[in-house]
């Protein structure tokens, strides 16, 4: 066997083994499970900001799992409540659902009410005592007479209460609650109740509603189709008793399912169109198109290598990485073009001599690009890290694959078609065009000052207007359409969160604007209030006797309040500091349906939810440990932060790429080479600024990708300029392939993919124009 044959055999073996190993890896891992369409997977798990961690937890654990159902009968009227009860029971029986209840079903709420009443001394008495103590302090009385005053005050308040409308429905509970702990709760929550009430609540024909929570994340596969199947099953069972009942429902999983289907669809047609675009360009430029098929194996190896590396490093990889990364083909094909389409330096030049001849532009373009993308691994945004690894690994595989693959071909040269007059006319014409281009470029620069950033996480999804309309309709029936702000007040423990809630309420009231709010702060006292209540009952054992006397003096039959005195003496005898936590946990376990979302007691964060109207526009101060739970707003803000982070990393990457070029080609030539990618990026962003086109994170990423691509063209072209040759046809071919394939991306319905596509395509075309109009002529002249 000759050396040449041995090399071929060795090359084929290496490539075959690599392909087999890669394919084996992808077959071995559970690939569908490793690919995520969950938008939350785009955010870091170990987020440094607790607000995001909490948001993520809330979104994935509670709120996001909620599904809302509206039941109607055959005539489109609200279905009977019995149908809602049956449907909820059927849903609750399904393993895909954690729970479900008909909204107007009284039993679970009655049980919760009884539980709260049982726990009234632990939960409601401390707040009551604090209020009364504040009222006593306002009278200027001394502590020695507080118990006396309190007894008289309680009797007087009870007397007044009997003249109110609330007294009649509450009269049966008064023997056990002469201090009016429960009505006091009503009074404290009055504004909140009014806030929570929607106009629908007083309508005569109220809709029939069911609230449910699914058992798994709505953003995972198992939270979608299996859940929809379970809903159909529950509906079928309900219809056996209530024929003609139909349902309308909404939930995060409906959006996620639609989005997933459309992203998958996009992935398919984008890839097909991308390949078609590359083939079309190849057909135009390449004389023997069948031989152009040899460009495919290095690209396939690059994609395979990228998939393998990314799935090996990341447990879950977002599908957008593959959507965006599939355009790696546009970059990876560059090395093939350059190697395969370079004519032999001399007749019969050995392939490896050719590789050695081209190694400088090949290695410098590849390694600087890889270094730039590798820098993305430092980002805190998983998508950027995954994309960085995907492209960097893919490019290394592409270069290695191309070098080895073309070594096994008998003829490693693909001849291009000759295009007469392709250089754009006479030198004078080209000079004029060059002047026009430079003038236009300068004109775009002031636009950089007009650049507007708009970071909207909804851009990650494909808009689904029909689903959004249905969602808005159903949520309006549940009263979710009113303009309100949701706040989360958090702490490392429930007690810390409750203390923070006090500070937050103080801020909310002091902020003005007539904010009204509702939360469980009215029900759950602070630890300090609870401790004060315990101190009171121990320091004032005479209080029950004083209260008896005060009640009798006010015309009451004190013996009629025996249930209260029995419960009070039991509380005074047995209460301890540990009761509060136990009572809150007991209450939490009794919170059913939507109320369960108002409190989260757990690690590493516990939090209270506050619903507010007319809330101040300002962000709550850090001391309140409160964040607005407007998920969209928060995520958008965080995405804005990530865009800045990506911009910084991209600029650092750009600096690395630039430094590599300057070191390799010297300052003057390096600067000329580097001015193409930088100029294209600045000019394009300036143009976007003039046009008022809002930019986002993916424009930044697109610009970075565009810089890396155009930097390749620049390097490959300068090598030709040194030889006083026009830019190699491989650069044109590659640039047009990239422009075609990224241009296809610009057709995507996913706004961020569109942003990436338009940015890269326009940058590549701009750079090609600059190269074609003899940007490097000066270099050639010097040599």
């Amino acid at each position: 066997m000759t050396t040449r044959k041995r090399r071929k055999w060795l090359g084929a073996s290496v490539l075959g083994a690599a392909a087999l190993l890669g394919a084996g890896w992808l077959a071995w891992i559970d690939l569908p499970r490793r690919i995520s369409t969950d938008v939350l997977d785009l955010l870091p798990t170990g987020e440094r900001s607790p607000e995001l961690g909490m948001m993520r937890s809330l979104a994935s654990e509670s709120e996001a799992r909620v599904m809302l159902f509206v039941l109607t009968d055959g005539a489109g009227q609200p279905a009977p409540q019995g149908a809602a009860g049956r449907f909820a029971a059927e849903l609750a029986r399904q393993p895909d659902f954690a729970g479900a209840r008909a909204l107007d079903e009284a039993a679970p709420f009655d049980a919760l009410g009884r539980r709260l009443f049982e726990l009234r001394f632990t939960l409601l008495f401390p707040s009551w005592l604090r209020e009364r103590a504040a009222a006593y302090a306002a009278t200027g009385g001394d502590q020695d007479h507080f118990a006396d005053w309190l007894a008289g005050d309680a009797a007087a308040r009870l007397n007044r209460f009997l003249g109110t409308p609330e007294a009649l429905p509450y009269q049966d509970a008064l023997p056990a609650d002469p201090l009016l702990l429960a009505p006091g709760l009503i009074e404290r929550t009055q504004k909140g109740l009014a806030l929570l009430q929607s106009p629908v609540s007083s309508a005569i024909a109220a809709p029939t509603r069911v609230w449910a929570q699914i058992a798994v994340s709505p953003l995972r596969d198992e939270g979608q189709q299996p859940v929809f199947a379970a809903i159909e099953k529950a509906l079928a069972s309900t219809r056996r008793v209530y024929p003609g009942v139909s349902i309308a429902y909404t939930g995060v999983n409906r959006f996620a399912a639609v989005s997933r289907a459309r992203i998958r669809g996009e992935l398919g047609w984008l890839n097909i169109l991308s390949i078609a675009a590359v083939l079309a360009v190849a057909l135009i430029f390449i004389r023997r198109t069948r031989r152009a098929l040899h460009l495919a194996p290095p690209v396939l190896l690059a994609v395979l290598g990228a998939w393998v590396c990314t799935t090996a490093v990341f447990e879950r990889v977002h599908i957008l990485v593959f959507v965006v990364g599939s355009l790696l083909t546009g970059v990876a094909v560059d090395y093939g073009f350059y190697l395969y389409m370079q004519a032999p330096g001399s007749p019969g030049e050995d392939y490896w001599d050719k590789v050695r001849r081209l190694k400088k532009p090949l290695l410098s373009s590849c390694f600087t690009t890889v270094a730039g993308f590798a820098l993305l691994l430092l980002s805190e945004l998983p998508l950027i890290r995954q994309l960085g690894l995907f492209v960097a690994a893919g490019l290394l595989c592409a270069l290695a694959g191309a070098i080895v693959y073309f070594s096994i071909l008998d003829d490693a040269f693909l001849e291009a078609r000759a295009f007469s007059g392709f250089r754009g006319g006479a030198p004078a014409t080209r000079r004029k065009v060059r002047v026009v281009l430079i003038t236009l470029w300068f004109a775009t620069l002031p636009g950089l000052l007009l650049v507007r950033w708009k970071d909207d996480i909804r851009d990650m999804e494909i808009p689904s207007p029909s689903v959004e309309r249905e969602d808005a309709r159903i949520r309006a029936l549940f009263g979710g359409a009113s303009v309100q702000t949701v706040y989360l007040t958090h702490g490392r423990s429930l007690s810390e969160a409750r203390d923070a809630l006090d500070r937050f309420e103080t801020w909310l009231l002091a902020a003005g604007g007539g904010a009204r709010f509702a939360n469980l702060g009215a029900i759950i006292p602070t630890e300090a209030e609870h401790a004060e209540a315990l101190r009171f009952v121990r320091q004032h054992p005479e209080f029950p006797a004083r209260l008896r006397l005060a009640l009798a003096a006010s015309g009451f039959d004190a013996d009629g309040f025996e249930p209260f005195f029995t419960a009070y003496s039991s509380f005074a005898a047995h209460a301890s500091g540990a009761d509060l936590d136990a009572a809150v946990r007991s209450l939490r376990s009794s919170l059913a349906g939507p109320l369960s979302l108002l409190l989260h007691a757990g690690q590493p964060q516990s939090w209270f939810v506050t619903l507010a109207s007319h809330a101040p526009a300002e962000t709550p101060p850090a001391a309140t440990q409160t964040v607005s739970a407007d998920e969209l707003q928060s995520l958008n803000r965080i995405f804005g932060r990530y865009r800045q982070s990506a911009l910084q990393i991209s600029l650092a990457g750009l600096a690395i790429v630039g430094a590599g070029v300057l070191i390799t080609y010297g300052f003057r030539d390096g600067a000329r080479i580097f001015s193409i990618p930088c100029g294209a990026a600045l000019g394009l962003f300036g143009l976007f600024g003039w046009l008022g086109h809002p930019l986002n994170l993916f424009h930044v990423l697109g610009a970075f990708l565009g810089v890396c691509l155009t930097h390749n063209y620049s390097i490959f072209s300068v090598s030709s300029a040194y030889r006083r040759e026009p830019p190699p046809v491989s650069v044109r071919l590659s640039a047009l392939c990239a422009a075609g394939s990224f241009g296809v991306l610009a057709l995507s319905a996913i706004p961020v993919v569109h942003a990436l596509g338009e940015t890269v395509a326009m940058m590549v075309l701009t750079a090609l124009l600059a190269i074609e109009f003899e940007h490097f002529a000066a270099i050639a002249d010097k040599k």
Binding site: L196, Q197, G479
Partner: protein, 215 residues
Amino acid sequence: MKRMLFLAIAAILAAMARAEETDAAIPPGSPISPGDPAWSELSAGLLQRTAVAADFTESRFFSFKKTPTILQGEVRVSAEHGLSLHYVQPEDHTVIIDERGVLLRSAKGDSIPPAEPDAGAGNDALLHALRLDLGPLAKTFGLFGSRTGAVWTLVLVPRAADLRRTLGRITVGGEGAAVRRIELRRSATQRVEISVQPPHPAAPFTAEELRRYFR
């Protein structure tokens, strides 16, 4: 979610106030049917008066209080807008009962009390009873009545045991086309008696009255 939260909190508060079993004495009078001509004639007289206003005194009897709590105010009955009880003593507030339910109005503003099905049935009953609209009442209540000349008494006894326990017995008494007495009786020690004075001279409610005392 917000509406659900409202309903849930309302249900909790209502549950906390759920009544224990109460009794109802045997109602006075004879059973009557919705189509009874004598009562239809009375009803027609009441329906002709589309706007009635009168002063009233309300006595609330509680099992744990030796003397009743006395409230005073003005009652307004509108054929179109329902019933309005404007209390002026001991505190100024208004209870409005109409087809949309109950609304409480005070200096603090309007509020809707926690939803309670039994209370809703009671409010509906009161609205129909004030018009002697016996047809709808007969669906939920046993009807008993007595008449002596112009003086009449209508007693409503809930048919369902649950409602009987929570609502008790409703008695409406009158003279001719004027309602003079309303009693909501759960037991001898738990009852509300409303004594209505002769109506003010007949006149339609002004726009200001409708705004202040109805919704």
